[in-house]
């Protein structure tokens, strides 16, 4: 009888979305390839001065992760919007704001997590000190879910539009600024031997704020886009 409890629906949705993502393996690798390519472009553009790259490494990796997260946002709602399953999601008796979290979680598992796995390798390429790589991964772990959560609001607002691409970046990037600042700042501080607990706590609190606050506007925006 408990078939359609909120938890069951949440996990059913999560399972379906993950399954859909794995059926399109080529698309799965696109954000990852983009991430690696953007990071590769920097040494080519700024010259291979290892000292320069070392100081810029956290910034480069974070900016690339930001762009990769942003460009893959479309995947959260686009295909569901086109085939109409998004309407069923909204019509569902369970609160849309919770179900939206399942979609965002899928997005993070599919695009955020691979980036985090590849990031240490790129950090080594850029000559980042090996003691800082753990911290880089930690900031990415705390920060990339925030990117997915905030991005979900923006993509929910623009999913009904034919050409939302550039508009999306205008909507999303200003909101990504705090995450970028605290994450890269933490690594820079650690590089000069200072404690970084404050930055990590702030990143964690941004994550909690995003988890608690973004589902509502996302759900409201989805309802608006479907009207």
């Amino acid at each position: 009888m408990n078939q359609s409890s909120l938890t069951n629906v949440f996990f059913a949705l999560l399972k379906r979305d993950l399954l859909l993502a794995f059926r399109h393996r080529a698309e799965l690798f696109n954000p990852l390839m983009f991430f690696v390519l953007v990071v590769t472009l920097f040494p080519l553009g700024t010259g291979a001065d290892s000292k320069l790259l070392q100081t810029m490494a956290p910034g480069i990796i974070w900016v690339a992760a930001l762009l990769a997260a942003m460009l893959s946002l479309d995947a959260i709602f686009r295909s569901d919007f086109e085939d109409g399953s998004l309407e069923l999601l909204v019509l569902n008796p369970h609160p849309t704001s919770i179900l939206v979290l399942a979609k965002v979680l899928t997005h993070w598992l599919v695009t955020g997590l691979p980036l985090i796995i590849v990031a240490p390798l790129l950090a080594v390429f850029l000559g980042l000190d090996s003691s800082l790589i753990g911290l880089l991964v930690l900031t990415l772990l705390l920060g990339t879910p925030v990117l997915s959560l905030i991005g979900a609001v923006a993509i929910a607002l623009t999913v009904g539009l034919k050409r939302g691409g550039i508009l999306l970046s205008l909507l999303v990037l200003p909101f990504y600024v705090p995450v970028l600042i605290f994450a890269t700042n933490a690594i820079e501080m650690a590089a000069s031997g200072l404690p970084v607990v404050a930055q990590l706590w702030i990143l964690a609190s941004l994550l909690i704020l995003a988890i608690t606050l973004t589902p509502w506007p996302t759900a409201a925006a989805l309802k608006l886009s479907l009207s």
């Binding site: 609001v153 607002l157 623009t158 508009l167 909101f175 705090p178 600042i181 409201a220 009207s227």
Partner: protein, 247 residues
């Protein structure tokens, strides 16, 4: 009280009211601007440190205040529009965005003009400057989202959601940028600290601030009237208004 609000917020009534107010607002704005500029450019004494170039604060500071003030107005009206579905509140959110963007741009440009002789650079990645720049992008985001959605009723609600998300984020952005810089960079660029500003300097500044506020109301009313006509073009009151104006 509620009856008064409902009456004032109804488009035909507000359209007429705004039309009546407009010449007054325009007159007061111009008078205050003349007074403020005279006070700021001629009456106020020269600064002992910055010379004459400090006088740009009479544009810069009120513009920077307005850039934040208008965003707050937008967020409040966005909430009112979303909760009570008052059409006028939705329109205020939408119509304020270009004015706010204008003030933000003005604050940035005048600040950079002042920064060149004072700091020796057009732009520094100071906390305030960066936060203001991000605010400008938020305004642009709101404007382009509104332009991108063809159904204006839906568009204004989308804009309202974005404005509300933005208002949560503005303090976060503000403090993140501030901490980032104070942690990161030495105190090379002090903020706009005014240790007991001269009274003769302060008065024109306040006059300018009031002038800018009333200018905002004036231009907002102009935009609102056009916006209301555009949105309500299929209603009876607009049609009868047009018929009346014909002869």
């Amino acid at each position: 009280m509620m009856k008064f609000i409902h009456k004032t917020a109804s488009p035909p009534y507000f359209y007429k009211l705004a039309g009546l107010w407009q010449p007054w607002l325009a007159g007061i704005t111009i008078l205050l601007l003349i007074a403020g500029l005279y006070g700021g450019l001629i009456y106020a004494p020269t600064d002992y440190q910055q010379g004459e170039s400090y006088r740009i604060i009479y544009i810069h500071v009120p513009a920077a205040w307005m850039s934040l003030f208008i965003y707050v107005v937008m967020a409040v009206t966005a909430a009112i529009g979303l909760i009570w579905r008052i059409k006028l509140a939705e329109s205020v959110t939408v119509c304020s965005a270009p004015i706010g963007a204008g003030f933000t741009l003005l604050a940035l440009v005048t600040g950079s003009l002042w920064g060149k002789p004072m700091w020796g650079a057009w732009w520094v990645w100071d906390a305030r400057l960066t936060a203001e720049l991000i605010l400008l992008f938020l305004y642009f985001g709101i404007m382009s989202l509104y332009a991108a959605i063809s159904d204006k009723r839906v568009a204004s609600r989308a804009v309202a959601i974005l404005a509300l998300v933005g208002v949560v984020n503005i303090p976060i952005i503000h403090y993140s940028v501030e901490w980032w810089n104070t942690l990161h960079q030495g105190p090379t660029v002090t903020k706009f600290d005014k240790p007991s500003i001269d009274f003769r300097m302060l008065i024109p500044l306040l006059i300018m601030a009031v002038a800018f506020k009333i200018y905002y109301v004036w231009s907002l009313f102009m935009r609102l009237r056009v916006e209301l006509l555009d949105r309500e073009r299929n209603t009876q009151w607009v049609k009868s208004l047009l018929m009346d104006n014909k002869d």
